[in-house]
């Protein structure tokens, strides 16, 4: 046993949801393990497997695993990983029980993948006639700090009798100046954010979850991201966006318990209109296309004026170091940092986990690139909306365009191995399931 689990194609644990698990698992049982262990009795195989899975891996270095269970979902305050695969889904089933079962199946798969294990019965060694449960491209790779974070969009609350549980803080975003939104890159009944240090791990996770979801949910749109543009670890260097600038220097750090509590996590008592969201957060995702070519032919002075920082050090206008307190009045009135700063927005503060993206080139040979902006906040009305309104005057708008947009309620974390994504929303509401947790 090592502290760093490596993706294994072999089954490691009996699924807690065995009774209702996807049928083939029940059907083939421990076929895979039986074959691998030769003549081992099926019961023996289970015993061996159990001993593996009871060791929940602890958070560790770049290749390690991030704990899946907790009060909050991982992937928000977690130190930002290098890569992203973000997917928005539409729910197709009208069968509440089938959807709840999917959430449970997804939780189990997410629990396994974030621990560096293969989905279901693994990627090989099973029945020759059946496609493997796991697609296999993560075999031999480390967990790479994979986090999987689920969110529920406003449109989900119109389904399954959930309208009464839609939190007031989960507003439909208003139209902002300069928006040029593509409906094929916007919205979604739910989302899953996969972040990892290895792109293959993030892609593997979304691919397997999408596959488990076929027939119940469909992917509406997805986005790959690289080169994190925000850091939740202030001691690390602030990464640069594709414009070459450091941005988000004052982002909330994963260790700043007070600011997280104040600006990011939903609290039961104070946000009482949605008690089921306690421990959760709200996510705004925006696909922001950059006009890379025109930006690159803009003079250095203008670039620095637009941001309100110098390009080399990242220091605010008139200051020496990146982390020096910015003097906003020294910046031009339409400088990006000035307009985005909490002081300009009555203290509005976001936790950002943005990623750069490039999806090749468009038909005109221009780089289809920009920033995939992910912001977490306790209330969208007090977070993203005022900041984005303030940015209507941003000089940067000449070089960027918001082309995709979505907002999601991020439910609290999965507490333990009997818990599942979305339980607090779906349990105890009309048509709830017979999960013991709901009693």
């Amino acid at each position: 046993m090592t502290d760093t689990p490596v993706h294994s194609g072999q089954p490691a644990s009996p699924a807690p949801t065995a009774a209702t698990a996807p049928s083939r698992r029940a059907l083939i049982g421990w076929g895979g393990a039986g074959l691998a262990l030769g003549a081992a009795a099926a019961g023996g195989a289970v015993a061996v497997a159990r001993s593996v899975d009871d060791t929940e891996p602890a958070a560790s270095g770049a290749g390690g695993a991030i704990a899946f269970h907790g009060i909050h979902q991982a992937g928000i305050a977690t130190p930002v990983q290098d890569r992203l695969h973000f997917a928005a889904f539409d729910v197709k089933t009208t069968d509440r029980a089938a959807f709840v079962q999917l959430l449970k199946d997804w939780t189990e798969a997410a629990r396994r993948m974030t621990a560096g294990r293969a989905v279901g019965e693994g990627a090989y060694g099973g029945l020759a006639e059946a496609p493997p449960d796991d697609t296999g491209e993560a075999l031999g790779l480390t967990p790479s700090r994979l986090t999987l974070t689920i969110g529920f969009g406003p449109s989900l609350f119109e389904k399954f009798d959930l309208a009464g549980l839609r939190p007031e803080a989960l507003v439909d975003l208003p139209k902002f100046a300069g928006d040029n939104l593509d409906r094929n890159r916007s919205g979604g009944d739910l989302c899953i954010q996969a972040c990892a240090d290895d792109p293959q791990i993030a892609v593997h996770a979304i691919r397997n979850l999408a596959r488990i979801g076929f027939g119940k949910v469909v992917i509406r749109w997805s986005q790959l991201g690289f080169g994190k543009t925000s850091s939740t670890t202030p001691d690390a260097q602030t990464p640069r966006n594709l414009m070459g600038f450091k941005d988000g220097t004052r982002n909330i750090a994963g260790t700043e318990t007070d600011r997280l509590k104040k600006f990011v996590w939903v609290e039961d008592a104070k946000d009482a209109d949605a008690a089921w969201m306690a421990g959760g957060s709200y996510l705004v995702a925006r696909r922001i296309r950059m006009n890379i070519e025109t930006w690159d032919r803009t003079s250095l002075q203008e670039q620095e004026d637009i941001f309100g920082r110098d390009k080399g050090e990242g220091a605010p206008v008139g200051k020496a170091k990146e982390r020096d307190e910015p003097f906003l009045k020294a910046m031009l009135p339409d400088a990006h940092v000035r307009l985005a700063h909490p002081d300009t927005n009555a203290g509005a503060t976001l936790l950002r986990r943005g990623y750069s993206f490039t999806d090749g080139t468009d038909g005109l040979g221009r780089l289809d690139a920009g920033l995939f902006f992910l912001a977490y906040q306790r209330d969208v009305r007090k977070g993203f909306i005022p900041v984005q309104r303030s940015l209507a005057a941003d000089a940067l708008n000449e070089y960027i365009q918001h082309v995709g947009s979505a907002v999601f309620a991020i439910p609290p974390g999965v507490r333990d191995k009997d818990d599942w994504w979305g339980r607090t929303l779906f349990a105890g509401t009309p048509g709830g399931t017979n999960d013991p947790k709901e009693a």
């Binding site: 065995a18 049928s23 083939r24 029940a26 049982g29 496609p131």
Partner: protein, 386 residues
């Protein structure tokens, strides 16, 4: 309880048994009387001199005492042909030989060379008896083989209507006959594809040609004619020739369907492959890029998949009831969705695919994924034994 073990062996053993038989032989241990089976065919009977004989080289000594030309088959329990002899005229005698392993077989006479024939069950005795397959699966394969044969038989006349219109230079009539001439083929495509050589002759698209092949010289089959009709909008002598060749190639297919290697798992996987065909070619509009009749092929592919599934369902139901529930639901959902693209559920007059919006194409694609993913688990549910 999850400790369910499987029999993966069953299918493999059956496949091996099927492969171990050859149709013809020059060796002569059939000269021993034990190995000679007298078959007396009339217009209403098919009598055999013995119903049990030892494994090895067997000779069927066939006498046609009827008034019609007949043919004689030695068949596996799933109707696959071990050996056959056609065109046995009234009053004539023919010998048919084969090397046969132990197991259950049937001898069939087909007076008039039509239909399923008059059948006699026979047993071949001796060592090395093949593992018995679930008789329900043998029955499923036999029914599916019959279905595939019917599809080929029904396709030929329709293809001739199409070919004749092409030869007559009647563009409108040819366009009208085009899509329907393909339905039987699209329903059973995995069987045709299993021969390897027919599919590239009749159903290849221009981008499927190999390097060095000239579209003007080497491209044959339906899609070449589709291009002439819808894109070039004219018919030439070359097209007449291609129409003739299409009929020849389809006749070859019709003649060979009975010998196709079909197993329960290949039926299940064939069903999935039909959905894969839809997912990769039809849902994108690539298959029928000139005629835009993709939804006709789409429907035929789904029907063929559904046929395999329905035949395998009793066994799948026993092994994996939840899968059957899901498949029933998803087949129904896809069929319902497809019906919205035709006025009348008995007609194959579907909306032209260039009139289907991008959003609707995605909806079709989503429905295909919703069905194909559980369908990929059907083969496992067929081989699994409790």
């Amino acid at each position: 309880m999850r400790a369910v073990r499987l029999s993966v062996v069953t299918a493999a053993a059956t496949a091996a048994a099927l492969a171990a038989v050859t149709g013809c032989t020059e060796k002569s241990d059939a000269s021993s009387d034990d190995h000679v089976v007298e078959v007396t065919a009339t217009d209403s009977k098919c009598e055999v001199s013995k119903k049990e004989f030892p494994a090895g080289h067997v000779q069927l000594d066939v006498t046609n005492k009827g008034s019609k030309v007949t043919e004689v088959y030695l068949l596996f329990p799933d109707d696959r042909i071990v050996t056959e002899r056609e065109n046995i005229g009234p009053g004539t005698r023919q010998k048919v030989t084969a090397e046969v392993k132990a197991g259950d077989y049937r001898i069939a006479c087909k007076p008039g060379m039509k239909g399923r024939g008059i059948r006699q069950d026979v047993t071949v005795t001796g060592g090395g008896k093949a593992t018995k397959r679930d008789p329900r699966l043998d029955a499923a394969v036999a029914s599916y083989r019959q279905y595939a044969q019917e599809q080929a038989d029904e396709t030929l006349p329709k293809a001739k209507v199409f070919a004749d219109a092409v030869k007559a230079g009647d563009i409108e009539a040819a366009k009208k006959a085009y899509a329907t001439s393909r339905i039987g083929w699209e329903r059973t495509e995995p069987v045709a594809e299993s021969f390897g050589d027919i599919d590239p002759k009749v159903d290849v698209r221009e981008d499927g040609l190999e390097e060095g092949q000239d579209p003007e010289k080497d491209w044959t089959g339906w899609h070449r004619l589709e291009r002439s009709l819808w894109k070039d909008k004219k018919l030439t002598d070359r097209d007449s020739e291609l129409a003739g060749r299409l009929i020849e190639d389809l006749t070859d297919w019709q003649n060979r369907v009975g010998k196709a290697e079909i197993t329960p798992t290949s039926m299940a996987n064939g069903a999935k492959e039909l959905l894969d065909e839809v997912a990769t070619g039809k849902v994108t509009g690539e298959e029928e890029r000139y005629s835009h009749t993709d939804l006709v092929d789409f429907k035929a592919n789904v029907e063929g998949a559904e046929k395999s599934y329905e035949l395998l369902k009793p066994v799948a139901q026993e092994n994996d009831a939840a899968l059957v529930t899901e498949l029933d639901k998803q087949f129904a959902a896809l069929d319902t969705l497809l019906d919205t693209y035709r006025k009348d559920t008995t007609s194959y007059d579907f909306t032209s695919y260039d009139k289907v919006s991008e959003a609707d194409q995605k909806e079709l694609s989503d429905a295909v994924n919703a069905l194909a993913e559980p369908l990929s688990k059907l083969a496992a549910a067929v081989v699994a034994k409790k």
